[in-house]
């Protein structure tokens, strides 16, 4: 049996290397994308978790102001809380390295004494001179870097490093190299350690802490201790487990990952379809062989196992090729993903691929399961071949599955389900239901395929013989063509819908930027551009900028994250009077100018749409916002359209912000120039004046827009892969389809040739059929894609991200896509058609 199996496989591969190659390639591609995305997601999380572990070490709980420095006296309260065994403080800031342009450090001021029980690193002084003793505390300029970063920057122990902190340049001397242990291995190479006293002094944060890590007493309940900490600390303090911090980031990354995972699943489905077609082709081609085996006594189950096994061998090769391919893919995308995640969510630097045996097993398992599932039906069909039937090709019935009315019913049911799930996703949640909605919408369209094909076949009547024959074939071969069209439709619909959604999104953001981001110039610390909002502008810079004669008005912007009703939201402080006059903020209800002007200085906030949806608040509602001075009631003065963030965001006037957060430094300045001033000229002179060493960046409105779209386009680069997948599906699907059809129709073609139809005639007939296939699938694909894009725009986006995107059709797509698909269809069908047309007539007829 084994010999038989090996021969069976070997013969197939040897005789049809091209087809086997296509199948292997498609499985490899599917598995590669699947594992690539899996590994990317895992690497992003692993990098983040390792960085959390590096500083949190073995901590069970963390207290932080989430970006807002907290009073160091809080440490005493924390330490005296029952259940806390130990607590260690941290002061952190992300800074650009002045003498190594482009590099930044995530500086962590630590207390080497109290962090003893937490520590997940050691410091290596290199040499062993006695004078190194206690240098970490003794010399305020001592700093420890990771070996990788020190190497990258070309600095050695004893070298000076100058960084730009919030208060000015700070000089450090590299004295130690950090070595991470345990879970912290793989932490961000940009972590740098210094003594907490130096950190407070260099960052201008004397008396302030960024975070406190806590260790619980043995047997203490983390929930109880967290609750008792919360009751003792100001409500703006966040008490959470380090895993909770990771989880919050994971949650933030969730939507991003969802896109990638969905994409990788599509690629697997595509691979399944390829396997289906390949096995089907093999079955059709080897009917004679099957008949022989059956008549020699091989059981039906044996036949099925033979074909399944063959598929698994071919698929297995694909899986083997796909795994390394996927890792290569992941490695090449690491940088892009790091940057996207940093731009949108949180500072993250992924250095290494995080690969676990489980993820390899999962990817290989998923690949093989997909292969087995796809090969199951054609293999069963093979087992159903009766010996008699197989030996008399005359009975090669074209078992066209009739498209009955119940297909239409099923299609409508699916449509109904799509609408229903979409409604649920929007109104009750959970947001994942919206994917169900998309799935059923797609399924509905797929179910319509046989009906549409039949209608087309019946309504197109040709006078000449060959086109008529082609139509007849087309209608008869629905059992193959239907599946090919359905697969093409699915791939096309994915592509079209994502393209439409991105286009709409881009257009909406563009419009919104034009209206809302109206300042002519912006000034911000350079590190904020490199690593997300990290530092505030020093007052001196602010003063120098706002007193320029060419500046008419100046908007001060400060943003921070806070925990509101258990979720992360952004809080942005603005000068409401300036915003009322200059910004083009548009509100859902009411006039923005009036609302902003009236809210200045008052306990009123303006929330974005995501916020309103997420927390079910409306204009006029009162909400309790946790501030360092306790929970304070604020009135929601308005709801504005916003596309900067999928987080909830509320705007607050500086008057109120200063009152409750006791913070006055802004992170970005927006400058409105006097009429007639040239922004570019002012920008250049400003840049020369305040930022000769590149610590601060001055950028114009145009550049902001460019930067927004750079990040935007980068985020969606990955979806470009969809286009490639679509075309590959299209090409290889049609190729395999016609390989099958040409075998099934050998006899017929023999007859045609013998009654005088030329080779070119046969070729034209088959290629024409392929073109028809292309036409139908591209039209249906466009239709389904448009419908899906509506689901994406109006169901998935609002329910996941809570923002309103205005649906816009990129009309270009309509006239670009069908020709491309039809051309691909023709080209892919050409080779099988040619081969088919060249069958020696006598041989084809001999079957009779």
């Amino acid at each position: 049996m084994l010999v038989l199996f090996l021969r069976h496989c070997g013969r197939q591969i040897a005789r049809h290397p091209a087809m086997s190659a296509v199948t292997v390639l498609s499985v490899a591609l599917g598995v590669a994308l699947f594992i690539g995305v899996l590994v990317l997601n895992q690497s992003a999380l692993a990098a983040f978790r390792a960085s959390v572990d590096a500083t949190a070490g073995k901590a069970n709980l963390e207290v932080s102001g989430d970006g807002v420095p907290m009073d160091e006296e809080i440490l005493r309260t924390v330490r005296s809380t029952p259940g806390i065994a130990a607590a260690t403080p941290l002061v952190e800031q992300v800074c650009l390295v002045s003498d190594h342009p482009g590099e930044y450090l995530q500086l962590e001021g630590i207390d080497l004494f109290s962090n003893v029980p937490f520590r997940a690193f050691t410091l290596e002084a290199g040499g062993s001179s006695e004078s190194d003793l206690l240098e970490f505390f003794r010399d305020p300029r001592s700093i420890a870097l990771t070996a990788t970063l020190a190497h990258k920057m070309g600095v050695r122990l004893g070298d000076r490093i100058t960084v730009r902190t919030e208060t000015g340049p700070a000089n450090f001397v590299l004295r130690y190299l950090i070595e991470f242990h345990g879970k912290a291995v793989g932490a961000d190479e940009h972590l740098a350690l210094l003594d907490i006293a130096s950190a407070q002094e260099s960052f201008g944060r004397v008396g302030k802490l960024s975070r406190i890590s806590c260790l619980l007493r043995k047997g203490a309940d983390p929930g109880e201790v967290a609750a008792s900490l919360r009751s003792r600390l100001p409500p703006s303090m966040i008490v959470q487990t380090p895993e909770g911090r990771s989880r919050r980031v994971e949650k933030m990354l969730g939507a991003f990952e969802l896109n990638l995972t969905a994409l990788s699943l599509v690629s697997l489905v595509v691979a399944m379809y390829m396997i289906y077609n390949a096995v089907e082709a093999s079955v059709v081609r080897r009917r004679g062989e099957i008949g022989l085996l059956r008549s020699l006594g091989l059981q039906r189950s044996g036949v099925q196992a033979l074909f399944l096994g063959e598929a698994l061998v071919v698929g297995g090769i694909g899986v083997l090729l796909g795994l390394p391919l996927g890792l290569l893919l992941a490695r090449s995308l690491l940088g892009v993903i790091s940057e996207s995640v940093t731009a949108i969510y949180a500072l993250l630097h992924i250095e290494r691929i995080s690969l676990s045996a489980e993820s390899i097993a999962l990817a290989a398992g998923a690949g093989l399961a997909a292969v087995a599932a796809a090969a199951w039906f054609p293999a069963r069909e093979a087992s159903g071949v009766e010996p008699v039937e197989a030996f008399s090709p005359g009975t090669l019935a074209e078992k066209s599955r009739r498209a009955g009315p119940w297909w239409a019913v099923a299609a409508f049911v699916c449509g109904g389900l799509a609408v229903g799930l979409g409604w649920l996703a929007l109104h009750t949640g959970p947001p994942t239901l919206s994917f169900g909605s998309a799935l059923f919408a797609l399924l509905g369209f797929t179910l319509l395929v046989p009906l549409v094909c039949r209608e087309i076949a019946q309504s197109l009547r040709f006078r000449s013989v060959l086109p008529r024959l082609a139509m007849a074939h087309f209608a008869h071969s629905l059992h193959h063509n239907g599946i090919t069209i359905a697969a093409l439709l699915a791939a096309l619909a994915m592509y079209v819908s994502v393209t439409v959604m991105i286009f709409s999104f881009r257009k909406t953001v563009d419009d919104w930027l034009h209206r809302t981001v109206t300042a002519d110039l912006f000034v911000a610390p350079a590190i904020n551009v490199r690593a997300g909002t990290q530092q505030a502008l020093p007052p001196a810079i602010e003063e120098a900028v706002s007193s320029l004669p060419s500046v008419a008005a100046c908007e001060r912007y400060r943003e921070q994250r806070i925990l509101f009703r258990g979720e992360t939201v952004k809080c942005a402080a603005l000068r409401f009077p300036v915003a009322a006059r200059y910004s083009g903020l548009s509100l859902r209800q009411g006039d923005a100018r009036q609302v902003l002007a009236e809210s200045a200085g008052a306990d009123r906030v303006v929330v974005n749409e995501s916020f309103a949806k997420r927390f079910h608040v409306r204009e006029g509602d009162q909400i309790d916002i946790p501030t360092p001075r306790g929970n304070r009631p604020f009135t929601v003065a308005g709801v504005f359209y916003d596309y900067t963030t999928e987080f909830g965001l509320f705007l607050i006037d500086w008057g109120a912000y200063r009152r409750y957060w006791e913070e006055d430094r802004c992170q970005t300045l927006g400058l409105y120039l006097r009429a007639g001033e040239d922004p570019e000229r002012v920008r250049q002179s400003l840049q020369r004046q305040i930022a000769p060493v590149g610590d601060w960046i001055v950028y114009s409105n145009r550049e902001v827009r460019k930067e927004v779209f750079r990040v935007f386009d980068q985020t969606f680069t990955v979806t470009e892969l969809l286009k490639g997948i679509t075309l590959i599906v299209c090409a290889s699907g049609i190729f395999l389809n016609f390989v099958i059809l040409s075998i099934e129709r050998r006899r017929e073609i023999g007859v045609l040739r013998s009654i005088g139809v030329g080779r070119s005639g046969v070729e034209a007939m088959l290629v024409g059929e392929a073109a028809l296939l292309g036409v139908i699938s591209s039209l249906l694909g466009l239709l389904a894609g448009t419908a899906l894009s509506l689901v994406l725009t109006y169901v998935i986006n609002p329910s996941f991200f809570g923002w309103t995107v205005r649906w816009t059709m990129p009309w270009k797509l309509l006239w670009e896509l069908p020709p491309l698909v039809i051309l691909t269809a023709i080209l892919s069908a050409y080779w099988p058609a040619r081969r088919c047309a060249r069958i020696p007539v006598a041989e084809a007829m001999r079957m009779e």
Partner: protein
């Protein structure tokens, strides 16, 4: 070599550990080349003692500790040993002129150990704090030193109180001295190596009547017994050729106490700076110098934790007093092995004393400290 001593990444921390070891039991001194630049005061002349002033801190000296050990028992006869030691270690002679409260002048450390002699269980913990927010510190002029909620202080009535808690264990004791402070060496100047200044100022309360309680989980155990208190300050480390020390604080049932220490050299012999004190029931002290006593090791106990080989028991002879004593641990495993500020291991625990004085049988209890047996030599 025991495995814990060979970890290279902790090399610099081990340097702290060297410093710590000095603190742990600076029964030794060096010419202090490491700290010479800091202008610390050195123990060179006899000290003008005044109590309670000298119970407080001496910030002119770099290293200082307050040290309590004792043998206690509960009403139902369960026996316990305890150690609470709090250290001050100066980094700068002058307080640095810096803004942050986290600037360091002194670092405070603590070791806390409980020997449950009945259950043969040994528990120990360590602490370190720079005292930025006042959570660790020491007072001048009176005995008051604390590291978190570990605290040794003088009560208004002159008695001492010690408190230490770690996880679900909590010790709280009141101690009354039966004798005035005993000044060791030359009126409290205790020489530790041949180099000048390689000495410490050192006095003890050799017999403290102790009562209090030990809480373990939900259990509260009332305790009574006898304790020993040391206060020592200096600015010097071990001598060049010294690798560790053996120290004994023995309280005899007949009312006398014996303190002996010997600094061990690389070749295993005892340095000539070894010495001790014999304290009569009325508090009179008789100084013992090198040569006046012998320390003989009996057997070996191998630590299952660090692999270090400690002397299992000792025979002490003081011919001038007609004293022959055998000192044996009340429980074999009383080794502290600490990782926090470098890899440090030493044996410190409750001992039982038996023997004869002028042929008459004698019994007692005490505490013994054995250092420098684990890992590489200190220098």
């Amino acid at each position: 070599m025991p495995p814990f001593s060979a970890r290279s990444p902790v090399r610099w921390l081990r340097r702290i550990c060297v410093a710590l070891l000095l603190l742990v039991a600076v029964r030794g001194v060096d010419e202090a080349r490491v700290f010479a630049a800091e202008n610390w005061a050195f123990a060179q002349r006899p000290w003008a003692w005044r109590f309670p002033r000298d119970h407080g801190n001496h910030p002119d000296f770099q290293i200082e500790w307050w040290y309590l050990t004792g043998n206690l028992s509960s009403p139902d006869g369960a026996a316990y040993g305890f150690e609470v030691t709090l250290f001050r270690r100066g980094l700068f002679r002058e307080a640095p002129q810096r803004e942050s409260h986290w600037k360091i002048r002194d670092v405070f450390f603590g070791h806390f150990a409980i020997s449950d002699l009945g259950a043969k269980k040994f528990f120990f913990a360590e602490r370190a704090d720079r005292g930025a927010l006042g959570e660790a510190g020491s007072s001048g002029g009176k005995m008051e030193v604390w590291v978190g909620d570990w605290r040794i202080e003088e009560q208004p009535d002159g008695s001492l109180r010690v408190q230490a808690a770690e996880n679900d264990r909590k010790l709280d004791l009141l101690l009354h001295s039966r004798k005035p402070p005993v000044l060791h060496g030359e009126a409290g100047l205790s020489q530790k190596a041949d180099e000048p200044g390689a000495a410490s100022y050192y006095y003890s309360f050799t017999r403290l009547e102790t009562q209090g309680k030990f809480e373990e989980g939900k259990k509260t155990i009332p305790l009574r017994g006898t304790s020993w208190f040391d206060h020592e300050f200096s600015s010097s480390a071990l001598g060049k050729n010294q690798v560790g020390w053996d120290w004994f604080a023995l309280q005899l049932d007949s009312g006398e106490e014996l303190m002996l220490y010997g600094l061990r050299k690389k070749d295993g012999s005892i340095d000539t700076t070894a010495g001790g004190s014999w304290v009569e029931p009325d508090g009179t002290r008789k100084g013992l110098r090198y040569g006046a006593f012998t320390l003989e090791r009996l057997g070996v106990w191998k630590s299952p934790h660090t692999g270090a080989r400690y002397p299992a028991a000792w025979r002490i002879r003081v011919p001038s007093l007609g004293l022959v004593l055998e000192v044996a641990p009340r429980m074999a495993d009383q080794e502290l092995y600490l990782h926090a500020l470098g890899e440090i291991a030493y044996w410190e625990g409750a001992v039982r004393v038996s023997g004869t004085r002028r042929e008459k049988p004698l019994h007692g209890v005490g505490y013994m400290e054995l250092t420098g047996y684990a890992g590489a030599p200190l220098q």
